[in-house]
């Protein structure tokens, strides 16, 4: 009987069936990043303006001072005896104590940010109440639109982190597992083309990537109103490039390892610097200048930056070419080395 089955198609099918029959894999690939996005999104959602807690020490003019402060928005004011005021300040129940008298005294800890803020605000209110006039009139324009919030920053980072994690694990771990099981050896004992096998690994990653991307981006848009300003096609292309890059790194990490423990360690070694430096949870620009060459050379930094530029700023795809080139270089070089050094037996 002639062969009517295509080996690449069968290998891909096998990858699919195995993955989706493994509940843990489905959870860690799709459920976990979703939970992370929801959890962090809730934790860092934009809160109403912080209250400033002020105590006024008991004095004949205490009531008047308290009245002035209460007349301004954002103050919670209580009047207490000296001892109680000190106690409350020490326990963090108030940020500042105002001691009225001929001179007002502010009792506060300047190293506590909320106390430093409270000192400025209290001073401002009391000075105005005493008749200060501001020489320059100020108008305020407050911004709270989608695109500038923490969750907007976070979603592209989570997409990048997930593409890295599942690319490395989905290729590296699976290959070493097959090697441990002697399945790789069994495969090369057949006429299977080795390139078919490697393409099935890469192809599998490409196909698994779509739901990963869709779930995180979809959750961002539907649950948190993240505004996608760039083109979907651009986001797709960047994600595909990222997934390919990390599939290559996964292959490289797995190309010689003979134990699951070895490959797990290697993968963590590769991924840890990127978790820390590549701007998943906060901007990588915050790292000092001498670290920036390293930070910018990491593929996840480039992937996250490209995703953020397209999703949040609506930047055109051609402007991301440099970032994509770095990803392609990482993926391509890893792939080439992995192919040369791959241990089949």
């Amino acid at each position: 009987m002639r062969n009517r089955l295509h080996p690449l198609r069968e290998l891909l099918l096998a990858r699919f069936r195995e993955s989706f029959r493994e509940p843990e894999v489905v959870f860690w690939t799709y459920g976990f990043p979703l939970l992370l996005a929801v959890g962090l999104g809730i934790a860092f959602r934009n809160r109403p303006m912080e209250q400033i807690y002020v105590d006024v020490e008991q004095h004949t003019s205490a009531a008047a001072v308290a009245e002035h402060l209460r007349g301004s928005p954002g103050f919670t004011v209580e009047v207490h005896l000296r001892q109680a005021c000190r106690e409350r300040l020490r326990l963090g129940k108030s940020s500042i104590t105002v001691v009225p008298g001929e001179h007002y005294t502010f009792v506060y800890d300047p190293t506590r940010p909320e106390s430093a803020l409270a000192r400025q605000r209290v001073d401002d209110v009391l000075q105005r109440a005493a008749g200060r006039r501001d020489p320059i009139p100020i108008r305020e324009q407050q911004v709270q639109e989608p695109g500038a919030r923490y969750i907007d920053f976070l979603v592209p980072g989570l997409i990048g982190m997930n593409l890295m994690g599942s690319g490395m694990w989905g290729v590296g771990f699976v290959i070493v597992d097959m090697r441990v099981r002697k399945l790789l050896k069994r495969f090369v004992a057949t006429p299977m083309k080795r390139s078919d096998f490697l393409w099935s690994m890469v192809g599998g990653r490409m196909l698994f990537m779509f739901p990963e991307l869709g779930i995180i981006l979809g959750a961002g848009v539907l649950l948190f109103g993240v505004a996608v300003r760039g083109s979907i096609a651009g986001i797709f292309l960047i994600s595909v490039t990222g997934a390919l890059c990390f599939a290559g790194l996964g292959l490289l990490v797995a190309c010689r390892a003979q134990h699951i423990e070895t490959v797990s360690g290697l993968m963590n070694l590769v991924m840890l610097p990127m978790w820390l430096l590549s701007g998943v949870f906060f901007s990588s620009d915050r790292f000092p200048a001498y670290l920036q060459p390293l930070v910018q050379a990491l593929p996840l930094t480039q992937l996250n930056n490209a995703l953020r530029a397209v999703i949040l700023e609506g930047a055109p795809l051609p402007a991301q070419a440099g970032k994509l080139a770095i990803l392609v270089a990482w993926g391509g070089i890893s792939f080439a080395i992995a192919l040369r050094c791959f241990r089949w037996n």
Binding site: M1, L5, R21
Partner: protein, 318 residues
């Protein structure tokens, strides 16, 4: 010679270890004829698996010549792979793929081959077609491994320890499958450390020890080299057995072996030996606690040649 499925000459495989080099295979010669079932029999560590993996093109020999189906590894690899089927000593198949899916996957690698359904039937796994590989018993897993070796409809089948660790019933099932291969005209090379398996299945057997063939022939020929077809085994109370020189002069005795739990005599005519043995024991005032007779086996051939049993671990060659 075109009627040889496998020919190898002076095969040698050295492994580097911490204490220098070890010769896993040490100048091994082998000729397997087309259509026969050939057995490599030897204890664990004798070099059987290394030899087979070299013949399968999975390992490279340190030196020596190998010809498989008239072709050589490194020259006609794809053609060779199309025509051989392999069952490794140990393969753990993907646990969450079904028997049918795994066979279909393996089938897709071959230009020509058999319908997976037919292969499943031939190894008795039809009922398990939709069962995941992780849920199969040891015997079923081993039959799946053999099925994967057969799905490309190979001319030459390698089975490395196909029944190791299986229960008696599963072993018999596999023996049936392996016998069927012979009736289909396929050449089979199997390794085993079970002498009964080699005796029942193999047309010819090479006894391997320390990486070398130490005896070659059909099971009947090999047993005939003992000079006798029966083994009388006995044990006496407290293990105070008579001296070997007193036993070797008993009628019809060819060989005397002291064993862990008694003495084994290789004999031509047990009906002459046994009365004389009982008489000797009585004279020496010894109490018999065990007396059995059986047909001589390949095990006895191995013990005769090496002084060790097949199930003893191979000690590293000095």
């Amino acid at each position: 010679m075109c009627d040889l499925a496998i020919r190898c000459h002076g095969l040698r495989k050295q492994y580097r270890t911490r204490n220098g080099t070890v010769d896993a295979v040490n100048g091994l010669d082998l000729e397997v004829r087309q259509g026969e079932c050939f057995g490599l029999l030897g204890p664990n560590g004798a070099g059987k698996t290394t030899t087979v993996e070299i013949l399968e093109g999975l390992l490279r020999a340190t030196s020596g010549e190998v010809e498989v189906l008239g072709m050589r590894w490194g020259e006609n690899d794809d053609e060779l792979r199309q025509r051989i089927g392999i069952s490794l000593q140990e393969t753990r198949f993907p646990e969450k793929l079904s028997v049918c899916e795994i066979l279909t996957l393996f089938r897709s690698f071959y230009r020509e081959g058999k319908d997976p359904t037919a292969v499943m039937e031939s190894v008795g796994l039809t009922e398990k077609a939709r069962a995941w590989a992780g849920k199969l018993s040891g015997g079923q897993t081993q039959r799946l491994a053999v099925a994967c070796a057969l799905v490309g409809n190979p001319d030459l089948v390698f089975l490395d320890e196909p029944t190791t660790g299986l229960d008696p019933q599963s072993r018999r099932q596999l023996w049936g499958i392996i016998r069927d291969l012979g009736s289909q005209g396929k050449t089979t090379l199997l390794t085993t450390h079970y002498m009964d398996e080699a005796e029942r299945l193999c047309d010819r057997v090479a006894v391997v020890d320390h990486g070398r063939v130490i005896a070659l022939g059909s099971p009947i020929e090999l047993i005939a080299t003992l000079g006798a077809h029966h083994v009388v085994e006995f044990a006496v109370e407290d293990g105070r057995h008579p001296a070997p020189e007193r036993l070797s002069v008993l009628p019809a005795v060819c060989e005397v072996r002291n064993e862990a739990k008694g003495v084994a005599l290789t004999v031509n005519e047990p009906h002459l030996t046994i009365p004389a043995l009982l008489q000797l024991l009585e004279m020496e005032n010894l109490t018999l606690v065990r007396l059995t007779t059986r047909q001589a086996s390949l095990e006895d051939v191995f013990v005769h040649l090496t002084g060790r049993h097949l199930d003893e671990e191979q000690t590293a060659p000095a």
